[in-house]
């Protein structure tokens, strides 16, 4: 018997969630006041969950490692958030959003979860607008939408290129309101380092106060991990520098299964690496693909400047290969196509590992529209370009500015250079329909769970999922567990389980500090990143993955013998923080490779070179791999695989085609 019970409610897809909500046991208001919930993370998932649970009356403690909850990595999301509002009257619906998400995820997500996500998506927009989130609007005062990579309807809501910031500030304001009311206690500059288990249930955490370096014990009737994704296992990614897997990994070692760890999203439009000093990569929002055209020269190793290459000598390879979707093919497809061109020698820029993203045509098109709007007759070409640039500036100004600052080039005049980079992790802690991990009382929300995106996430769907989980799912589903727990009194933190959990953390910190080796933490992180990118990145094969496993093991040994962490443990010590995170990445990396080895098919972002069609597209193997791979930690870097079979009742898997 499988250890996995996904707890999908019975009944037709469209009514599962409604029925669940109306039958889930409730916790009465008086009892809520004595129930404590720990929320680790203050991004979209964490802030929305903490605020909503506090509004319901629970006592909440919320943790983040940044100096303020407002700085969680969600702040950096640029492009937008999807919702099935159908404000544009272009045929969108809950079903269509559901369908697109299951298909976009290459049929590796759970239908029931995805349907619920699509179902609550509209409420998210309502909630955010009520909070004062300044989404883009049309002249009539109504909300504006755009289409976003991989979809044919305009269902993406946005706030210029700062959608994540505005949504997070909305959730943060709701959170701070509760902090002001005393219902949430906020612990910023705190890092969770262990889950405390009592009688098989998650009952609290050990956190380190990052300023004093002291360890703290915190009790909770339930613990929610909203700790984001683990893309930084690659060292270079678009994630914030501090994004890490530590919280999820500690939970994994306490019994929470890890779902589909190898499912990584490589985003097609990032600013290319400029040298060895590179510390992170910057995303150029996918929304740029709506208007920009991607191309490389038709001639190999073309040394001419972009503007000197005439139209007929440019290869708009996405439009060529995928006429139906063109530049809007899903991310995994666009990324692989860029890699293919660069590997074949058509790349541009000094490194030759880049392709052009060109706005010239869009500027002209917008200029013409604007000239018509302004009733200009026979405007000059210069005037059109000028007007077009204004429109583009309004839509994408902050992204263009960012590009200019980083590269020193003016993207209004010359095409931008872009290349794929690690961006998002679809894998994460396995959760059931209620968002509970395999550890009772331990939940995972947002990017930290293995989520609703299957093997590939569609653009603008992570923000949607994080907020769905926090605002509209967990407030209901947590009742199912807590209603059984109302008699449990707060457990004093001198309980043996807290003492031993704290000791375990202390021992690991001591061990790290005492290595006193010769190489910095970054040295090891960069090495790990290179192994992962080369062998478990955009394309993977059996031999490479096996090599990667061996290399990671060796590197891990070296780390534990030779890392140097200056300073002391009981003080503000950034190197020590990093060391703990890299130590966990060094274990996760191995599991990712094992998972990638196990999954002999290609699907979504996971491309096994052994499994491709004649024209180089990913080839899924539904007969053998239509399951979620959930890995159980057996200690000492051993894992056991459990499979959650995926049953598609509504959307029947077909080969994805964007041609």
């Amino acid at each position: 018997m499988s250890k996995l019970n996904s707890k999908i409610p019975e009944g037709p897809l469209e009514t599962k969630w409604t029925k669940y909500k109306s039958t889930v046991p409730l916790v009465n208001p008086a009892n809520k006041r004595s129930i404590e919930v720990i929320v680790v993370g203050s991004g979209l998932a964490g802030a929305s969950a903490a605020a909503s649970l506090a509004e319901l009356g629970y006592k909440v403690k919320c943790f983040c490692f940044q100096d303020s909850p407002r700085r969680a990595h969600s702040i950096a999301a640029q492009g937008g958030i999807n919702a099935a509002k159908n404000y544009q009257n272009d045929g969108d619906s809950v079903f269509r959003l559901f369908y697109d998400t299951v298909k976009g995820g290459d049929y590796r997500a759970r239908e029931a979860n995805v349907y619920r996500l699509a179902d609550v998506s509209a409420n998210i927009i309502d909630q955010c607008v009520a909070q004062g989130v300044p989404f883009a609007r049309e002249y009539g005062g109504y909300l504006s939408n755009r289409s976003f990579g991989g979809t044919q309807v305009q269902r993406t809501f946005y706030a210029a290129g700062q959608t994540g910031q505005q949504l997070l500030l909305g959730a943060y304001s709701a959170l701070e309101r509760q902090v002001g009311l005393g219902t949430v206690k906020m612990y910023s500059r705190h890092e969770m380092l262990e889950i405390v288990m009592i009688d098989g249930k998650a009952r609290g955490i050990i956190a380190r106060d990052l300023i004093s370096g002291k360890l703290e014990r915190h009790f909770g009737h339930a613990v929610l991990l909203c700790t984001g994704g683990y893309g930084n296992v690659f060292f270079l990614s678009t994630n914030a520098m501090g994004s890490n897997v530590t919280a999820a990994w500690k939970a994994h070692k306490q019994g929470a299964f890890f779902g589909n760890p190898c499912f990584t999203q490589i985003h097609p439009t990032c600013i290319p690496v400029s040298g060895d000093h590179q510390s992170k990569l910057t995303l150029m929002s996918e929304s740029l693909r709506n208007d920009g055209r991607i191309w490389v020269p038709k001639q190999k190793d073309d040394k001419r400047k972009a503007n000197e290459i005439p139209e007929e000598e440019r290869d708009y390879y996405l439009e060529r290969r995928y006429p139906a979707f063109g530049n809007l093919v899903p991310r995994d497809v666009a990324s692989r196509a860029a890699k293919e061109r660069c590997d074949a020698g058509y790349g541009v820029g000094t490194s030759k590992m880049a392709v052009y993203l060109d706005y010239a045509a869009a500027i002209e098109r917008y200029g013409n529209v604007q000239a018509n709007k302004l009733n200009l007759h026979n405007p000059s070409k210069e005037k059109i370009i000028e007007l077009g640039k204004e429109v583009v500036k309004e839509k994408y100004g902050n992204l263009f500015d960012m590009y200019a600052k980083i590269t020193g080039e003016n993207p209004y005049e010359t095409p931008m250079r872009i290349y794929p980079a690690v961006h998002y992790t679809m894998g994460g802690l396995w959760v059931d329909y209620e968002l509970m991990t395999t550890v009772p009382g331990l939940y995972a929300l947002g990017e930290a769970n293995f989520s609703d995106h299957g093997a590939n996430r569609l653009g603008a769907s992570a923000l949607m999922q994080g907020l769905a989980d926090g605002y509209f799912v967990i407030p209901y589903t947590i009742g199912s567990y807590l209603s059984q727990d109302i008699r449990t009194k707060a457990i004093p933190t001198d309980h043996e389980a807290f003492v031993s959990a704290e000791k375990k953390v202390q021992d690991q910190l001591d061990r790290l500090m005492n290595i006193k080796g010769t190489k910095s933490v970054d040295h090891f992180h960069k090495k790990l990143g290179k192994i992962m990118w080369d062998k478990c990145g955009m394309a993977r094969n059996e031999q490479g993955l096996k090599e990667a496993v061996a290399e990671i093991r060796t590197l891990r040994e070296e780390f534990w013998n030779d890392v140097r962490i200056p300073g002391l443990q009981n003080e503000f010590n950034l190197e020590l923080e990093k060391a703990g995170r890299v130590a966990d990445f060094l274990e996760l990396g191995e599991l990712m490779c094992m998972d990638a080895l196990n999954r002999k098919e290609s699907c979504g972002g996971h491309f096994r070179e052994e499994s491709q069609t004649e024209d180089g597209e990913a080839k899924r193997d539904d007969d053998n791999f239509a399951y979620v791979a959930a890995w159980e930690n057996k200690g000492n870097n051993n894992w056991e695989l459990h499979k959650e079979e995926l049953n598609f009742e509504i959307v029947h898997p077909s080969q994805r085609s964007y041609k």
């Binding site: 605020a51 909503s52 940044q66 100096d67 303020s68 407002r70 700085r71 990595h73 702040i75 950096a76 509002k85 404000y87 927009i125 309502d126 909630q127 607008v129 009520a130 909070q131 004062g132 300044p134 883009a136 609007r137 005062g141 109504y142 909300l143 706030a159 210029a160 700062q162 910031q165 500030l169 943060y172 304001s173 709701a174 701070e176 309101r177 902090v179 002001g180 910023s188 914030a240 520098m241 400029s274 040298g275 000093h277 510390s279 910057t282 995303l283 000094t350 500015d401 960012m402 600052k405 980083i406 020193g408 509209f472 407030p475 910095s520 970054d522 200056p566 003080e571 503000f572 190197e575």
Partner: protein, 256 residues
């Protein structure tokens, strides 16, 4: 692209913790690529320091894309350094010349005590938001989003104010260490939108009172904040805040 490499002297504020006094220490870095970001240059220094058995310079940073508001260096006497409308993390080394000496300090303000080296405590900003920087709407209360149309012009102005990243450069740049630009940005965003009307008066009164309680100085309209703000938040917001505050006080008297 032109490529140049720089040799620089860095004069950096080192301070062990909030209790001990700090001082400037000079370091040399060489062969710094002009394509590096400012923080990548500090990464290089730190790697050297670690390899030499010294303690790296502690500084705040996270997104490195100019949006989280975490980075906070006072560079050559300017909050976030020489480039207009740019955070420290987005500043690139092509802004500097070979052989230059660069002075790097933390934000200095009573409201922002130093934690270590270039890291300061900005939790005062969170407390100001907690005092009123929100719309009191519980999850689930909301009606259909398009039932609240907002004139585009108001929406755009609200958005421009909402772009504040809470970095605190405005405070650091101000000789009075005033937090008016930060507070006015949030007050303006919500005062401009229909959603913010109901709590309009209490919000501004509470936020200003919390700002004062945190020890931030008063505003004397020097405009240094606007000049250094990486998100170019307009000083017009301060004028709006003053009007809002004045009106709210008038109304408060009416109630009495």
């Amino acid at each position: 692209m032109e490529h140049k490499n720089l040799n620089l002297t860095l004069k950096i504020w080192r301070q062990k913790n909030s209790k001990e006094a700090g001082n400037f220490v000079s370091y040399k870095v060489s062969d710094i690529s002009a394509d590096m970001s400012f923080l990548e240059m500090i990464d290089v220094l730190n790697e050297h320091l670690i390899n030499a058995g010294d303690e790296p310079v502690a500084f705040d940073h996270d997104c490195r894309e100019g949006i989280c508001g975490m980075c906070s260096m006072y560079i050559n006497g300017r909050a976030h350094g020489p480039w207009q409308g740019t955070t420290t993390c987005q500043l690139h080394m092509r802004a500097f010349n070979d052989g230059e000496t660069i002075t790097i300090e933390p934000w200095r303000a009573k409201g922002f005590p130093v934690i270590k080296d270039l890291t300061v405590d900005r939790t005062a900003f969170d407390r100001i938001i907690a005092s009123g920087g929100f719309v009191s709407v519980n999850t689930g209360n909301a009606k259909d989003a398009n039932n609240i149309p907002v004139p585009k012009d108001d929406a755009d102005k609200a958005f421009a104010a909402a772009a504040c990243i809470g970095c605190g450069a405005c405070v650091a740049a101000c000789k009075n260490a005033s937090a008016m630009l930060f507070v006015s940005a949030k007050v303006s965003q919500l005062a401009l939108l229909p959603q913010g009307q109901i709590e309009r008066e209490t919000r501004v009164l509470n936020m200003v009172s919390q700002m004062d309680a945190e020890g931030f100085g008063s505003c004397t309209n020097t405009g240094a904040c606007e000049a250094e703000c990486p998100k170019e938040i307009s000083i017009e917001n301060i004028a709006r805040l003053n009007r809002e505050y004045f009106m709210a006080n008038l109304k408060k008297k009416d109630y009495l």
